[in-house]
């Protein structure tokens, strides 16, 4: 069936054809279930849950009881199908509802679904249509309850969900790192009216106030005053107007400021005051602007009064009046700043439009316990902020249709804060915010674009025998390149742009096209080779004096760290010279030391273990570049233990523990770590944290303050970054920090 052109075009002047292929919008419909729909005044938000089958690279140890031969690989890599849960949210204009329902009906295979949860003001209007088309029973859910549920969900699961809007700043959107405890907060929902809700816990919230002067007042009164029908058009008018032609300002009354009260001359004394005393025609633009100011200021004032009364400082704004409109975000921000003198910041949400649908979905999915899991935004499948904003980019709106998507993956592990963060509330993982730093942004976007060919080549090489590898790799290239282009124009699309988010986006795009672990074979080869050198390295280290040994071990850690396929300078050398090995790496550092984990990390922890130190070795849960994964590490450790009694004993005595960190990124967000790791850290009373590698210690966590001693080490494998930090490429960062006493 064709999705385009199926709708009556009479009522709207806009073209209703969907320019994206519908199967790219309603993805994974075959096994979709637990539908929820939120129908607002103009937009519909559809939510469903699907299971995604995708390939994952699994490693499995061979049976080593038989005598080994040199040619035997260490372990076996198999690509397996894994099923993971994913949430899909799609936003589109109400005009498409019928077409969309038809498409869903035709592609829905799953028959266990009987009910669709519905919320929003338009839900009753479309009830019959939905029941007829989908043959599902419409089950209505309370709007505000859904909204709050959705809000809690995004605040908990999307680190850069909230932002401050600053119209005249270098970057309009300033993302806030979400406080680990999201409660209490105030949600000001500006729909046709205004609701002010205080949220104290997951299921504890109260409407503490509201106002009838809201989006409906702007729209209704605006339409009467300007004869302009559409809300968007009214905002457009307002953005071109001069409110001072309509409003009576303090200076119109005083001739200047009202100094003794600190009221400036430009302050509005009486909204529309000039139209009461002046007998003239007012322009539509000016009236719309005056109305916008009047309503925004009024809402801001009430919000402040309620925030003050309830002693709350986190105030989020949502509702159709706000929904991605820079004009209203600006006026509300201005009003809040004015009335609280900067004490309270107006916060907005990236996925504000989806809150109702997310909440309705969660209501319907309670038996799946979605709140017991951690979820992560899938950058590959999500459109990003402002993807369909008419004000920002009218051309793009026309091109990509009016569909906006959000996809969230259920993470296998529950993620929590590292208990050793000195101040979880102020912890920001990323070292450089590319949303704000224009030069850095340009550099890194260029870098990732340059590296794309190599990544595509590597992806194909990793699946030579797999079907359609070239075709899929090409799709990956297109997708990621498109993401990079979007980020060039809208760096705020997925929250703060960082090297980490660029890397994660690439991983998500690779996964999307079933390249779960392009480096698996390289890792395998490297591990194999490194194992052969292990005893030799250990032995040579043992022969050194204590002091020399410490130096050598640390250099070993750093030399191993050069083997990072993420860094272009290194991958260039590695691609061109397959024989480039550990000795070369040492020379590059003008001195000595094992390929990352085996020849760098293990000799180092071995020394610690000999000292009697307990070691928890944390590694990635999922693959990212050539970083070792926890499952690979299990096998490697087993093999090393077979050769080395020190490791063997430590494992047996549980003085060496291998724990996964919950991450599948070359970078590390210490506020989203595996719960098990956090527990182990707490139980074992960890007193030293060593963070190794450019992704984890430089791109992220460089400034992280821990409550125990910490060591951050890495080799700067990027000349631009080295220059920025005031050094040369392959310079070493070795940062030992002791927490200040005051922090206990």
């Amino acid at each position: 069936m064709a999705l385009s052109g199926g709708v009556d075009r009479g009522s709207h002047s806009m073209d209703k054809s969907i320019t994206l292929p519908p199967d790219e919008i309603f993805r994974n419909l075959e096994n979709a279930k637990r539908f929820a729909i939120d129908i607002g005044g103009s937009l519909t938000k559809l939510a469903y849950y699907s299971t995604v089958q995708h390939k994952v690279a699994k490693v499995r140890s061979f049976d080593h009881s038989a005598k080994e031969t040199d040619g035997d690989p260490l372990y076996e890599i198999s690509v397996q199908e894994e099923i993971t849960a994913r949430l899909h949210f799609i936003k589109f204009e109400n005009a498409y509802i019928e077409t969309c329902l038809d498409f869903i009906k035709d592609h829905l295979v799953n028959t266990e679904t009987k009910v669709i949860k519905a919320t929003g003001g338009g839900a009753h209007k479309f009830k019959d249509l939905i029941e007829k088309k989908l043959k599902l029973k419409v089950d209505k859910e309370d709007e505000m309850t859904c909204l709050i549920k959705g809000c809690n969900f995004v605040l908990k699961n999307i680190p850069h969900e909230a932002f401050v809007y600053a119209k005249h700043a270098d970057s309009e959107f300033r993302f806030q790192h979400t406080h680990p405890d999201i409660f209490p907060y105030l949600l000001i929902n500006i729909g046709s009216g205004v609701s002010i809700v205080k949220v104290e816990a997951e299921d504890k919230f109260e409407r503490i106030g509201g106002s009838s002067i809201g989006g409906g007042t702007f729209w209704g009164l605006g339409a009467l005053l300007t004869k302009t029908k559409r809300f968007d058009e009214l905002l457009q008018l307002a953005s071109k107007g001069q409110h001072t032609n309509v409003d009576m300002l303090v200076k119109d009354i005083y001739g200047g400021a009202y100094g003794s009260l600190g009221l400036t001359g430009d302050l509005i004394a009486s909204s529309f005051g000039k139209s009461a005393t002046t007998d003239k025609e007012f322009s539509k633009e000016d009236m719309a602007k005056s109305l916008l100011h009047m309503i925004s200021n009024d809402i801001g004032q009430l919000a402040c009064l309620y925030a003050k009364l309830h002693n709350l400082t986190r105030v989020y704004f949502g509702g159709f009046f706000i929904r991605g409109h820079p004009v209203t975000m600006h006026t509300i921000t201005y009003s809040i700043n004015f009335f609280t003198k900067g004490e309270v910041q107006a916060l907005f949400l990236r996925h504000e439009g989806y809150l109702g649908a997310i909440g309705a979905f969660l209501k319907g999915a309670e038996e799946d316990n979605p709140n017991q899991y951690s979820w992560g935004e899938n950058y590959a499948g999500s459109s990003g902020l402002m993807s369909v904003s008419p004000e920002l980019n009218p051309v793009q709106r026309a091109r990509s249709g009016t569909f906006d998507m959000l996809e969230m993956d259920r993470l296998e592990r529950q993620l929590v804060n590292l208990p050793l963060l000195q101040d979880p509330t102020s912890y920001i993982p990323d070292t450089v915010d590319l949303t704000e730093d224009v030069l850095a942004r340009e550099y890194w976007l260029y870098c990732f674009e340059e590296a794309l060919d190599g990544v595509v080549k590597r992806a194909i090489a990793s699946q030579k025998d797999q079907p359609k590898a070239v075709e899929r790799a090409e799709k990956f290239r297109q997708k990621y390149r498109h993401k990079l282009q979007t980020l060039r124009h809208q760096p705020f699309a997925y929250g703060s742009l960082t090297v980490r988010s660029l890397l994660d986006t690439r991983e998500h795009c690779l996964n999307e096209f079933n390249f779960p672990d392009p480096y698996s074979k390289i890792k395998q080869k490297e591990n194999d080779m490194a194992l052969k050198y292990y005893l030799k390295v250990v032995k040579s280290v043992e022969e050194l004096s204590w002091e020399q040994r410490q130096f050598t071990l640390v250099k070993g850690l750093l030399a191993g760290n050069v083997f990072d396929w993420g860094a272009k300078a290194v991958s260039d050398v590695l691609e061109s010279d397959p024989e480039f090995g550990f000795e070369q790496a040492k020379q590059q550092l003008q001195d000595n030391s094992g390929i990352d984990i085996i020849l760098g990390v293990f000799p180092f922890i071995r020394e610690l273990l000999i000292r009697g130190t307990e070691v928890v070795l944390a590694s990635n849960s999922g693959p990212a570049l050539n970083d070792v994964t926890n499952s690979e590490l299990q096998i490697l450790t087993e093999r090393i233990a077979a050769m080395d009694p020190v490791i063997h004993t430590a494992l047996k005595e549980d003085r060496l523990a291998l724990v996964q960190n919950g991450s599948s990124s070359p970078c590390l967000d210490l506020s989203r770590l595996d719960k098990v790791l956090a527990t182990v850290v707490r139980e074992r009373g960890t007193d030293l944290v060593i963070i190794e590698g450019m992704g984890r210690a430089i791109h992220t966590n460089y400034y992280a303050m821990l409550s125990c001693e910490s060591l951050k080490l890495a080799v700067i494998k990027n000349s631009w970054l080295a220059e920025r930090l005031g050094g040369k490429i392959f310079s070493v960062v070795f940062k030992y920090e002791v927490p200040s006493k005051a922090q206990g």
Partner: protein, 373 residues
Amino acid sequence: MKLKSSSKPAFPWFGMDIGGTLVKLVYFEPKDITAEEEQEEVENLKSIRWYLTSNTAYGKTGVRDVHLELRNLTICGRTGNLHFIRFPTAAMHKFIQMGRDKHFSSLHTTLCATGGGAYKFENDFRTMADLELLKLDELDCLIQGLLYIDSVGFNDHPECYFFENPSDTQNCIKKPCCLDNLFPMLLVNIGSGVSILAVYAKDDYKRVTGTSLGGGTFLGLCCLLTGCETFEEALEMASKGDSTNVDKLVKDIYGGDYQRFGLQGSAVASSFGHMMSKEKRESISKEDLARATLVTITNNIGSIARMCAVNEKIERVVFVGNFLRINTVSTKLLAYAMDFWSKGQLRALFLEHEGYFGAVGAFLELLKSSDDA
């Protein structure tokens, strides 16, 4: 008010409050003029007195609120009547010209003025009519004027009133009352815009906040929406209209009460919410629009005032300002809003001389200033 009678200022005694929309003027007409005095009285002073007291309308737009006149008032040792006059600020230049034509400057009186216009028109008074203004702070004047009028009463009646049974439209009755324990009070002055003051004592107050949605907004929007030209016209239309044709109520959205949040079906959910629909816009009457504008502005002021009262922990809320003139729709609505939303904790109080307290305060300063001299 203790005013020494030793050194009286020269007549005429005026107090003026030049607001954004209206100029409020109080004039003291001495009734105890002796024959001797009368003989000495210069001609233009007599003519001013005669002009002001024998007319109730001045030019096209000036009005004397005869019903507010305070009779047999003794002040500064003189007895007479206090007159209350208003005209639009737009006519200010005409007024100044009149002052010039009547050689006001020859009377050597001090013209005490408050309100923003005291600053804005200061130079015009000087250059056009050779008059010097004594500029006074409008909030100081407002409070002093209010306390004075309340203390002298309204021709043997209380100045203050409230509404009994504010939540019951059938039995809601205006009742006079005495402001025994004045302080603390939240004073809400609704002129073109709104100022909200917390008053703790005669000379101890702070401006809590204000809003630009005031009387000027009501009239301004009404003029644009209905084509009316005056406040009286706008109120007349509003009195005949039905705001529920314009506003979206809770029941229009939820079919009844929104029980989850304890909202009554009859509560306004979205002011002008029905006007989002083209059909409804096309069939709506001017009267309904005027009423909705009035209700919207009034409820909003009520809501902000109530929040301020709660934040400042003040139970008495006194509403003044010319927005409330001949506007029982708003006074009753404010009384209802205070009572309903505070569950009876807050009481709305009103004063008969609504918008004139600033001018009275300025007038009092005249008597004080010559005292100091």
